[in-house]
């Protein structure tokens, strides 16, 4: 049983560019959440998708957007990249909207230069 898979694993982008990160949830899970983990810090909640809709959003600007597909996979898009967007982006999947247990992917390391 594959766990949560994220792609790509590493990415280097230039300031002002746009990036798309992808996540496939654990088999049987229908909820996907995205987190940003800056170096030396704990993960910060970006948003959560359930039933193809954004259900809750953290304190992130509109440059951060997402999508969930009918097969429950998800994308995170970041526009107009800033140097401060450099971080590890983590995807977590769970069943329903009750986070009694969330499974995390290995993350995508984004570097903005």
């Amino acid at each position: 049983d594959a766990g949560v898979t994220q792609s790509p694993t590493h990415l280097i982008k230039t300031r002002g560019q746009q990036v798309t990160l992808r996540c496939s949830p654990k088999s049987g899970h229908d909820t996907v959440s995205w987190y940003q983990q800056a170096l030396g810090q704990g993960p910060q909640f970006i948003f959560q998708y359930y039933e193809e809709e954004e259900r809750q959003r953290g304190n992130f600007p509109d440059r951060f957007s997402g999508h969930q597909f009918p097969n429950y996979s998800s994308e995170l898009n970041v526009n107009a990249l800033l140097l401060g967007d450099s971080a590890l982006y983590l995807c977590a999947s769970s069943l329903g909207r009750q986070n009694t247990e969330a499974f995390f992917g290995q993350g995508t390391r984004l570097t903005v230069v």
Binding site: V4, S33, Y35, G40, Q41, G42, P43, Q44, F45, Q48, Y50, R55, Q56, G58, L90, A92, S94, R97, Q98, N99, T100, E101, A102, F103, F104, G105, Q106, G107
Partner: protein, 115 residues
């Protein structure tokens, strides 16, 4: 709103010694409590969780944690650590039965094991 405070940013211990990683949380409602471990260049792995019931929770790799409601704490313990326990540990909370269920993390404690 909820918040999590991990009182130690780094904890150095000798191999086979006991360790305690401290975590306090703030919330006006009941919460679920979690400890996650992050090995270098990897994602997060759930060590253990407290949802309800017994306040002493046992997890993987010999770790356990005790929920103390009066002190709003959820400290993580292991009686004897191994070199392989070297990692970053995150305490976290989420609110049950909310409209969404984001996880709120502490800033992490780096556990370094000395031979």
């Amino acid at each position: 709103a909820q918040s999590v405070t991990q009182l130690d940013s780094q904890v150095p211990v000798f191999e086979e010694a006991p360790v305690e990683l401290r975590c306090n949380y703030s919330s006006s409602v009941s919460v679920y409590l979690f400890w996650y471990v992050q090995y270098p260049n990897q994602g997060l792995q759930l060590l253990l969780k407290y949802l309800s019931g017994s306040t002493l929770v046992k997890g993987i790799n010999g770790f356990e944690a005790e929920f103390n409601k009066s002190q709003t704490s959820f400290h993580l313990r292991k009686p004897s650590v191994h070199i392989s326990d070297t990692a970053e540990y995150f305490c976290a909370v989420s609110v049950p039965y909310s409209s969404a269920s984001k996880i709120i993390f502490g800033s992490g404690t780096r556990l370094s094991i000395r031979p």
